[in-house]
């Protein structure tokens, strides 16, 4: 992978991609999951990535987060190009600078809620900012469920634990992959509201993939992906404006 573009300016964008491409297979069977995506995510903002199934939105997220590698182009977090990192440095980055919230199977089933929240810190052999973690736990409303295992928590509670875990290490950016996909709408709204609060009150940066216009409306900005490309974007969206936009692009 050749990195020809200059490094991004620190402070402006928390993460981004430059001409990112990801191909699967060869010849006629080749699938272009990402086909030249260039995008930056501002610090302290909540960005939603939308697009139909197979549009490449999840692949983009995985590559941005350093979970997957590109065929060509580059992704960065802060002022670091991910391609320049060794597996060990990438692991370190995931532990300290990145938080994750997935659609399902977010927690280690054998650990309690408390242990799950502190897991990234424990893996690094750190205790972290105890006051901050307590604040986060209080904010997600889990103080009385800390000793419970994931199997003893509801879906919404599990997802709140996951969000708390993502926040615990004060990462530069949190990536969320369909975080409300497995939840009913009330619980989903609760999680999204909390994520939006984290952005507003703690200045956290969040990038979320979703196909739900209602969920996306919690973000400051929506980016539309189709066929591996950025096909549009919108600031301060509402569910209606998103739906309009999607109709306009013939989704």
């Amino acid at each position: 992978m050749n990195v020809t573009t200059p490094p991004p300016v620190a402070g402006v964008a928390a993460a981004g991609a430059v001409d990112a491409a990801k191909y699967y297979g060869v010849g006629d069977a080749q699938v272009r999951a990402l086909d030249g995506v260039t995008i930056a995510f501002e610090t302290g903002k909540f960005t939603a990535i939308m697009g139909p199934s197979g549009s490449g939105k999840s692949t983009l997220l995985h590559c941005l987060a350093g979970l997957d590698t590109l065929t060509s182009g580059a992704t960065y977090i802060g002022d670091v190009y991910l391609a320049s990192l060794s597996d060990r440095e990438l692991t370190e980055l995931r532990r300290t600078d990145v938080g994750f919230v997935f659609q399902a199977f977010n927690l280690i089933p054998t650990l309690t809620a408390d242990e799950n929240i502190r897991l990234p810190l424990m893996l690094g052999g750190e205790t972290g900012d105890v006051a901050w973690i307590d604040h986060v736990i209080g904010a997600v409303g889990l103080a009385d469920r800390l000793k419970h295992r994931p199997s003893e928590l509801s879906g919404g509670q599990q997802q709140r634990v996951a969000v708390a875990r993502a926040l615990a290490s004060k990462p530069k950016i949190i990536f969320a992959d369909e975080p409300t996909g497995n939840l009913d709408s009330t619980t989903g709204t609760e999680i999204l509201t909390f994520m939006a609060e984290a952005v507003r009150e703690f200045g956290q940066t969040i990038v979320m993939v979703t196909h739900d216009p209602v969920a996306a409306a919690n973000a400051n900005r929506v980016v539309f992906v189709g066929d591996g490309k950025i096909v549009g974007e919108m600031a301060d969206p509402t569910p209606d404006s998103i739906l309009d936009h999607m109709k306009h692009y013939g989704d």
């Binding site: 999840s58 995985h62 979970l67 997957d68 597996d87 060990r88 692991t91 370190e92 995931r94 532990r95 300290t96 990145v98 994750f100 997935f102 659609q103 399902a104 199977f105 977010n106 927690l107 280690i108 089933p109 054998t110 650990l111 242990e115 897991l119 990234p120 424990m122 893996l123 690094g124 052999g125 750190e126 875990r165 992959d177």
Partner: protein, 848 residues
């Protein structure tokens, strides 16, 4: 990086997956218990015998006896009693007592021989209260003169004999009468280790036991304050040629070593099976770890995603295994002590008569337990842990990516290991590089590699073979049967690893079966063709038979030929050989040894019959002479009178007269063979022989057919013992199948839920899982039988021809093994099938 988090995760994981953890722990524990049990048993028994012999020779400071030229099995020559007077004159010597142990058989008032259960019947000399042999008087006074004797109190009790009774006893010189003057015991015990004892005063013993002027040894007690070593030196100065003096401690050690060499062999035998069990456990543990890592794929990937390094994941899995290994080892050590006790009880129930020992847990035992227990666990987890570390973080969202990472190039490696194992095994058995050690290392190592390789490669044939095995199951059980068949065939890799442990157990049983059948076939062949004797008299006491037994038998008019077979160790060209001594004229009528040249009958003094192999090696022909040195130091020359091909009776035979001319050691017969006179029918012969052997309970008379049957029974018994010792390994194998199946059921939760939702009954669900288990275990058994038969054939071919010359295969055993495999499958299926059928349908479907 934090080891704290790895340890926490590992600990939590162990606790959360308790069932799986317990199953692995049981597998480790079983292996460790068996290893520890073998060591504890051998150590404890050894300590008992060390103490026993130390106690027996407690009063003996020094012993004078004849020297032997080299190590061998011959009895020691007796020593002149007259030497005792010279010894008494040596400074520091307090007491010199001739010691004599010979054959003596008590006869009860009805004229029946008194037979101790399993023990020998011995006559000993006893100097009375001053005696040095640790004999204690329980009742009465020590015997004095030819008219008195003492017997052990245990026999007296059993036969209701008391002091003052007159009894008859047989010795090498014939029948004698005497009055019981005392009941005696050894130390505080009433018995002499199970032997029936007749004790006479020294002069009477020398006379009645036919020892003449010579005793077995001269026991010495030194004066108070004298120095043992100084006295030993002083005695050495007065000793004649070919005599030696040793300390009481050396004597005790020697005697204990003799018994302990059996204990050691027994211990090593057990240990071999213990290691097999541990090896099988390793397979199970490896398989379980392998499967669970597949199941925990998303969890491990999630750890990677939130910032765990590959190294941390590997360490977590390894620490999990380590904790498990340590706990299981500790439990296994406890279990081992129990196993040792059970083994003693078991062998005693079978009539072994082991003393009940104190439990000795040596440091070496604990180290071995840790090596085996922790070692096999850690070895088993190396590959799974490395694979787990390769799981990419993105697998948390796309599990299919993770499964690709878990795949290995198993076939290539497996084939290489199989080939290497087979070559090592064959080379080790036939070429034997580096002697016995090379044989064991090469053949044993090759065998292990072969098992590992076959277990790995067998996945390639798992699909077609299990489809074939499953065909009748599908026919019989319709849909559940078809599901079982497909489930087995669709995961060939898992099927083969689940079946691997059983495969090893079955392979070992089959190899032993082929070996035993071949041994039996060869033996039967020999008895039918080479041995034409009608009667075979064997010795049940392991002391050897007194010559009067053979003399009595030779006097039976219904028999035309009788010869005893005695032995002496001798060196020819620097190598120690076992020589047999026979009555050649009779031998010719009793045995057909495939004579190649010369004559058997008329074998004269200092003439020998030798086998074709040594004849070729030493380039000897009939009429040639060769030098020989007997174990007692006597040298001489033997002339070859005949060369023969059948080595059933060994490769070196001399006449009884030659043996008597070179050795004064008391004659003892290994066995006696006899043939009916031409005009006597078998029935009349049986009655006559039985009657003649009546006074000799330790002589076991069998007809040729009976002897063959009893030998076959012994071979069968050996096979049964081997199978029983493999029971542990097979039980673990069944446990392994059960765990794998339970894990499989867990993985297929959704699928089973769906089947139940669309109308499969609980019973059908159970049936499906049950037959899946049966197909898997049958697969293991089939591969095991094939591999084991190969191993058995190679093993049989490697053994010298005079032990195994023809191959035999027992179809009955194969059928038994297959029936056993079906049962094993049914047992293994109990838990997984219940788990599958009790699943909540709705929950199962909702499971991701």
């Amino acid at each position: 990086m934090s080891s704290h988090s790895t340890a926490l995760l590992a600990r939590k994981s162990i606790r959360a997956r308790l069932g799986r953890t317990i199953a692995i722990a049981i597998a480790v524990m079983a292996g460790v218990s068996f290893v520890v049990g073998s060591f504890v048993l051998a150590d404890s028994l050894r300590a008992v015998f060390d103490d026993l012999f130390a106690e027996l020779s407690e009063d003996v400071d020094l012993e004078v006896r004849t020297a032997q030229e080299f190590d061998g099995d011959s009895a020691r020559e007796p020593i002149e009693v007259a030497l005792a007077d010279e010894l008494r004159a040596v400074d520091g010597v307090a007491i010199v007592e001739p010691a004599l142990t010979r054959y003596a058989q008590l006869v009860d008032s009805d004229g029946d021989a008194v037979s101790p259960q399993g023990g020998p019947t011995l006559g000993v000399s006893w100097a009375g209260d001053d005696g040095l042999q640790g004999v204690t008087v329980k009742e009465g006074e020590p015997p004095q003169g030819p008219g008195e004797l003492a017997i052990d109190k245990a026999t007296a009790k059993r036969e209701s004999l008391a002091v003052g009774d007159t009894v008859t006893y047989l010795t090498d010189t014939g029948s004698h009468q005497g009055t019981i003057s005392a009941l005696i015991g050894l130390g505080s015990g009433d018995s002499f280790g199970g032997a029936a004892i007749v004790a006479l005063d020294v002069d009477t013993a020398l006379d009645r036991f036919g020892a003449g002027t010579k005793a077995d040894a001269l026991d010495i007690k030194i004066a108070d304050g004298a120095d043992v070593i100084a006295v030993q030196r002083a005695i050495e100065d007065v000793l004649p040629e070919r005599a030696e003096v040793i300390t009481g401690e050396q004597l005790a050690e020697e005697q204990a070593d003799e018994v302990n060499s059996f204990v050691d062999q027994f211990g090593i035998g057990l240990l071999v099976f213990a290691f097999i069990t541990a090896f099988v456990s390793a397979f199970i543990i490896n398989n379980v770890f392998q499967i669970t890592i597949g199941q925990r794929l998303r969890e491990l990937a999630l750890l990677r995603a939130v910032g765990a390094s590959g190294k941390q994941v590997r360490r977590m899995i390894t620490v999990e295994a380590l904790i498990l290994g340590i706990i299981a080892t500790l439990l296994g050590i406890g279990g081992g002590v129990l196993v040792a006790r059970l083994l003693v009880a078991g062998f005693n129930a079978a009539g072994a008569g082991f003393p009940s020992p104190d439990t000795i847990l040596a440091v070496r035992t604990i180290v071995m337990a840790a090596l085996v227990g922790i070692g096999i666990t850690m070895l088993s987890v190396v590959v799974p842990a490395r694979r787990a570390a390769r799981i990419p973080p993105v697998a948390a969202m796309r599990p299919e990516v993770g499964f690709t990472a878990l795949r290995t190039r198993r076939l290539v490696i497996g084939t290489v290991i199989t080939a290497l194992g087979a070559v090592l095994f064959v080379v080790g058995l036939f070429a034997r590089p580096g002697g016995t050690f090379g044989l064991i290392a090469s053949a044993g190592g090759g065998g292990l590699l072969l098992f590992i390789g076959v277990a790995s490669v067998s996945s390639t044939i798992a699909s077609p073979v299990t489809r074939a095995i499953g065909w009748p199951v599908e026919k019989a059980f319709k849909t559940p049967g078809a599901l079982a068949r497909q489930n087995v065939a669709r995961a060939p890799r898992r099927t083969s690893s689940s079946a691997a442990a059983l495969m090893i157990g079955v392979a070992l049983v089959s190899a032993a079966a082929v070996f035993a059948s071949s041994l039996r076939a060869t033996f039967v062949d020999t008895l039918e063709n080479a041995v034409t004797a009608d009667y075979i008299v064997t010795d049940e006491s392991f002391q050897g038979l007194s010559p009067i037994v053979a003399e009595t038998l030779a006097a039976v008019p219904e028999l035309q030929a009788v010869t005893p077979v005695r032995g002496i160790a001798a060196q020819v060209g620097g190598d120690t050989k076992a020589f047999g001594a026979i009555n050649a004229d009779a031998f010719e009528k009793l045995v057909n040894p495939d004579l190649r040249s010369g004559e058997i009958a008329g074998l004269g003094l200092n003439e020998a019959l030798i086998g074709v192999d040594p004849a070729a090696d030493l380039d000897l022909a009939v009429g040639d002479t060769f030098d020989v040195t007997y174990q007692n130091g006597v040298s001489g020359q033997l002339t070859v009178a005949g060369i023969y091909g059948d080595a059933t009776f060994g490769n070196w035979l001399i006449g009884l007269d030659t043996l008597e001319s070179v050795s004064e050691a008391p004659a003892r017969d290994f066995f006696i063979i006899g043939k009916l006179a031409d005009d006597v029918d078998a029935q009349r012969g049986d009655v006559a022989v039985e009657a003649a052997m009546e006074p000799f309970p330790q002589a076991n008379v069998q007809t040729n057919a009976e002897f063959r049957k009893s030998q076959e029974a012994q071979i069968n018994q050996l096979l049964i013992i081997i199978s029983m010792l493999l029971f542990f390994a097979i039980a673990i194998a069944v446990l392994g199948i059960s765990i794998t199946l339970a894990l499989g059921v867990f993985e297929r939760t959704r699928e089973i839920g769906l089947l139940r939702a669309v109308g499969m009954s609980r019973r059908q669900t159970r049936r499906s899982v049950r037959w899946e288990a049966v197909i898997v275990s049958l697969f293991g058994a089939v591969v095991g039988v094939v591999l084991g038969t190969f191993l058995g054939i190679v093993l049989s071919l490697a053994v010298p021809d005079d032990v195994i010359s023809e191959l035999a295969f027992s179809p009955i055993i194969v059928v038994l093994i297959l029936i056993g495999a079906v049962l094993a499958g049914l047992i293994a299926a109990v838990y997984p099938s219940l788990k599958a059928s009790n699943m909540d349908v709705l929950q199962a479907i909702a499971t991701e």
